[in-house]
Amino acid sequence: MPTKKVQQPQLIFDKSSPGRIGCNLPVADTPEVDLSAALGDLRRELQLPELGELDVVRHFTNLSHLNYGIDTGFYPLGSCSMKYNPRINERTAGIPGFTHIHPMQPPATVPGALEVLAQTQEILCQVTGFDEITLQPLAGAHGELTCLMLIKAFHAENGEGDQRTVVLVPDSAHGTNPASAAICGYSVKTVPTDTDGGCDLNALRAALGPDVAAFMVTNPSTLGLFETNIREICDMVHAVGGQVFCDGANMNAMVGTTRPGDHGFDCMHLNLHKTFSTPHGGGGPGCGAIGLKSHLEPYLPVPVVRRSRASGSVELDYTRPHSIGRVSAYFGQFLMEVRALTYLLAFGREHMADISRHAVLNANYIKARLKDVLPAAHDRPCMHECVLTAEKYKREYGVRALDISKRLIDYGFHPPTNYFPLIVPEALMIEPTETECKETLDQFCDAVIAICEEARTNPQLLHDAPTTQIVGRLDEAAAVKNLDVRFRSAEPSKLNV
């Protein structure tokens, strides 16, 4: 395929010309003041680019053309649930009554915002089967950390704080699980996966003891499989006094079909940006939330947002002697919570289960269509994502999973997740989500099949890929060795003062 002829973009600093400004700003009409008298020492220089508005618009618009989002095409990143972000969500989240309010203004002046928080919590309680939800965590990993803090407070309250020092994590877990446990002061012990792709119950039994604070379970697992023994697993952990946390990254497989709160879990994090369709924005904002059973309720972060039984109005409760405190400055990612609520209400009681049913249908369809070229790591019905292995291509043709992914870029598709979970060799983790139509899935599968044929006949095509983008494979070692993480101008500019 031909190389795309696009000019290498300049940095915005290279387009700067002294004296330009890209915005017609409000300027004070109050009397001028002697700045030194008011402030003391002043800043001498500040190096920011100077451009007119049109050139600012062009710079970022042209950069957007060098980027790929769901709006551009299929984005089958496993474990990331890249579903369509409905535009009505953007519209509701852009209403001034939401965008122009301050988290520290009197609660009586923001009843609508508090109602958004309460309605979101109430619906999520129903969807997950938990007794309580808090929306304060700012991202999924932040929710994991918050859950571990609740567990830590719970054990401390029972006088077992010093004794329970270990958190168990499956070998297939997301890296955030062990990292969150370590950040929360725990040591981490790994539990292996059995040959069917489930938690190895014998290994779990051996790892359980009075030192275990919690077991962090991803369900469905990162292999895309439902943990059939989940009830038994929760019972085993509870029997030694431990708590069970559900990593909710894969909630999209369960929405409306089954509820983690009914499986025996004590708490769970949710990625509202994944399951409930708030845009990922190039890596953030994420939007966390956690669900918990009532025995963990006393430790909830403050303020607790709750509907008063008496009046029906929503109140903020700060008087909580056992609370872990605040985990973020305000009420979480509020405008993302507006988007999530909009999405939840679009499906409602009637359609909620359609989400998981079609997510699972799409994943199994891809798995079936690709089974002859890329076999699944485990031959069981998958949930909302399937993990395939390219081990054969590595062995026979020297082609790795990453090469297949990079070649997919030349075919116009975003690659799936590579090399995760860590326990599957040459893993390709594909998650189509429910919002993709059959034709898109077919085009993607046709491309993968064609690429697998290329791997047999002309593997160099895969090693050289991608060739259709502004850059080819980047030298990541050089990026580390010659660290260049900021622009520096040759001459510092002085302020025009």
């Binding site: 301050h102 890296g175 409602g348």
Partner: protein, 443 residues
């Protein structure tokens, strides 16, 4: 079915390819007793028109900054957001992208992040900045973790002049990781007493300007930290740094802050964007993402996430932090904002803020209202002592269309009659005069 494109025909064809008879057959691994057999007890589905009406109705119940004259800041500010910011960050290629794990397909975002890192490092006067954090409060808590790891010490000394919510988040994080927090007292609205800092102290944290508006003496704070061998951490307002000497000039080790004033809506406190800048020597231990410039096999320049071995998806429990998500979209808002304003625009915002604030400080001294800390220098916010309880005055002014500020009694003992007033570049002389008139009427 909203957003689900499948027709009955599609479903049948797909089930046939899979080799099962119904979608239910795909759920065999979920034990029957764990499956829902009745609809959830939640509201009925709404169509797009009903959704908008429902949310618009809720939004209308809030008193927002387009309806009142706004003087409530306390860390989040009603600054003007140029139209280009919203227009550019809502482009689907940016809005709906994921983390740039495939750099060849994400050069657009990666370059904007490199530009963001460059601009934030410049604004704070530091060597480098990361690709953003969740918010200012958690960014500060991560700075404390970093300082503790670098110094192998467990005490965090923090000024009482740091945002109370930030300190509460630090308390939570410190408890989880067995750090001890020690509060440095305020004297007349500023941090003065550093005598409790010792060889156990990992870092000294002050805010610039502080929560009460005062421009702290960073020389004194740096000296105290240095003497004890502790790191010097500054929580800094990026707009104030356009006109004040930035923390880097005081040899700060880590500078964190809230990026909201740079083109992000107040949004009831989210999404925000945490800023994190530091000296180069700490770069291999910082939390979060960082983008570096490199080249491809043909020597063409390009950008990629770098120093990945610090991150949780690679080092798992040995990672420098558990942060996976950053705030790339909000960081992009900061980048567009700073590009549109440029150095003179940002300086103009800062200068207009100072002018309006100086004017308001004089104008609002009516009917016995006076500056609480008369001798302190401020940038854009000040404490006004009233002859009446601040909550009562705030409430009565809301009825007159003015969000007068933050009553400080909720956060500082003995300040029940003090109001924290923020005056941004968006206020006019006429608005401030009206504030003075209405204030004198309610006092």
């Amino acid at each position: 079915m909203p957003y689900i494109p499948h027709t009955e025909h599609d479903r049948e064809a797909m089930l046939a390819t899979i080799g099962v008879r119904s979608i239910d057959d795909l759920f065999v691994d979920i034990p029957a007793e764990l499956r829902l057999n009745a609809p959830l007890e939640i509201p009925s589905a709404k169509n797009e028109y009903e959704l908008y009406l429902h949310l618009a109705h809720l939004a209308r119940q809030n008193l927002d900054a387009t309806r009142l004259d706004w003087y409530l800041g306390a860390g989040l500010y009603d600054r003007y957001i140029p139209s280009v910011v919203g227009a550019l960050i809502s482009r689907g290629e940016f809005l709906t992208a994921y983390t740039p794990y495939q750099p060849e397909f994400s050069q657009g975002y990666l370059q904007t992040i490199y530009e963001f890192q460059s601009m934030i490092a410049e604004v704070y006067g530091m060597d480098l900045a990361n690709a953003s954090m969740y918010d200012g409060a958690t960014s500060m808590a991560e700075a404390a973790y970093l300082a503790s790891a670098v110094t192998s010490r467990s005490r965090i000394a923090i000024s009482q002049g740091v945002h109370p919510h930030f300190r509460q988040v630090l308390d939570t994080y410190a408890w989880a990781n067995s750090l001890q927090v020690e509060t440095l007292p305020l004297m007349n609205g500023a941090t003065r007493d550093y005598s409790t800092i010792g060889t156990e102290t990992a870092c000294v944290i002050v805010q610039y300007p502080n929560f009460l508006g005062t421009i702290e003496d960073l020389h004194a704070a740096k000296e105290a930290a240095q003497e004890a061998g502790a790191l010097f951490v500054v929580v800094a307002d990026p707009v104030a740094c356009a006109i004040l000497p930035p923390p880097g000039e005081f040899d700060a080790d880590i500078v964190v802050g809230e990026g909201q004033p740079l083109g992000v809506a107040m949004g009831f406190g989210g999404p925000l964007v945490g800023l994190f800048a530091c000296k180069e020597k700490y770069v291999r231990r910082i939390p979060g993402r960082i983008v570096g410039r490199t080249h491809d096999h043909l020597g063409r320049p390009g950008y990629t996430m770098t120093l990945r071995t610090r991150e949780q998806d690679i080092r798992r429990e040995k990672a420098t932090s558990n942060i996976c998500t950053n705030e790339a979209l909000m960081a992009l808002a900061n980048t567009v904002y700073l590009s549109a304003l440029g150095k003179n625009g940002l300086r103009s915002v800062a200068e207009s803020t100072v002018r309006n604030t100086q004017y308001a400080m004089k104008a609002l001294q009516v009917k016995g209202a006076k500056l609480k800390f008369e001798k302190q220098r401020v940038f854009g916010e000040f404490a006004l002592e009233l002859p009446k309880p601040a909550h009562e005055v705030q409430k009565r002014l809301i009825d007159r269309g003015i969000m007068a500020g933050l009553p400080l009694g909720d956060y500082y003992a003995g300040m029940e009659s003090v109001l924290l007033v923020a005056v941004t570049e968006t206020r006019s002389k006429a608005q401030i005069d009206r504030f003075a008139t209405e204030l004198s009427e309610v006092l």
